[in-house]
Amino acid sequence: MDRSIFRGSFRPYVSPRDPCPPILVKTFVLPPQIFTNFQQPGLPQNSPEAALKQGSLWPQFVDGFSREEGIS
């Protein structure tokens, strides 16, 4: 899974009077489902074991999320 295709980023305005150390680039989530209005038939599927583990039968809609990404 290439998670980076399901993320966006922007550079917020930084003021010299911001009290916290500024984060120069902010990242946000663009989840897989927003890129399709209707799931195509016949997409590749996970095994039952991987499906339960990942939370979907279709890897195409799995983007995962972890604290290490530093999104918040």
């Binding site: 989530v29 989840p31 897989p32 489902q33 927003i34 399709t36 209005n37 209707f38 799931q39 339960l52 583990k53 990942q54 939370g55 979907s56 809609f61 799995v62 983007d63 995962g64 999320f65 972890s66 604290r67 999104i71 918040s72």
Partner: protein, 189 residues
């Protein structure tokens, strides 16, 4: 009607005794974008939507109740043998004097659940857009919970729940497309 299944949708394993994390998880138990709100929102809307989308609302609502049970399991395990002192340190002192060790439908700030969290406009597009938004808001809440939790077992279950929001959002988006196909159907009758 519904038949109880004596199993969870997903195997939940909680690693730590961590009442503070339990308190945060209450956001998804009894909060505005939580699983109870989701389950009740869809279960109520389904009666008056066009027939073609009743299945989606019924089945997703039913699944949300299984998510609610997963949240309850996590909250229960995280607080099960915690002392009143531990609960107080976790910010659950006020919860404890009112509810003891029992669960309650409230958010992370202790605000009790209210039906004003859900909407039902009787307009299929307004309702489905509300549902798509609800799924994305729940997904975001799971993200912030994953960011604040350091319990590997809880995070594993939260990742699963977050992914389910993606799929539910997709099914609601498809429902909108299905209703768009009904345009001008009247003329053909």
């Amino acid at each position: 009607m519904w038949v109880y299944e004596k199993k969870l949708l997903y195997p939940v394993e909680v690693t730590t005794c961590n009442p503070k994390l339990a308190r945060y998880l209450m956001e998804q138990y009894g909060g505005a974008d939580g699983e109870l709100a989701a389950a009740l929102r869809y279960m109520n809307q389904r009666y008056t939507v066009p027939d073609k989308v009743i299945g989606v609302l019924t089945d997703i609502s039913t699944e949300e109740f299984s998510h609610l049970e997963m949240l309850a399991t996590m909250i229960y395990k995280l607080t099960k043998d915690a002392t009143p002192e531990q609960l107080e340190q976790a910010g659950l002192g006020a919860h404890f004097v009112n509810h003891g060790h029992s669960l309650f439908y409230e958010n992370a700030g202790g605000v009790p659940f209210t039906s004003t969290y859900i909407q039902s406009k009787g307009d299929p597009i307004a309702d489905l857009y509300e549902d798509i938004a609800a799924e994305e808001k729940a997904r975001a809440t799971y993200q912030w919970l994953i960011d604040i939790s350091d319990d590997p077992g809880v995070n594993d279950a939260l990742r699963f729940l977050r992914e389910r929001e993606n799929i539910h959002s997709l099914r609601f988006r498809e429902s909108v497309e299905i209703l768009k196909e009904e345009r001008d159907r009247k003329k053909i009758f």
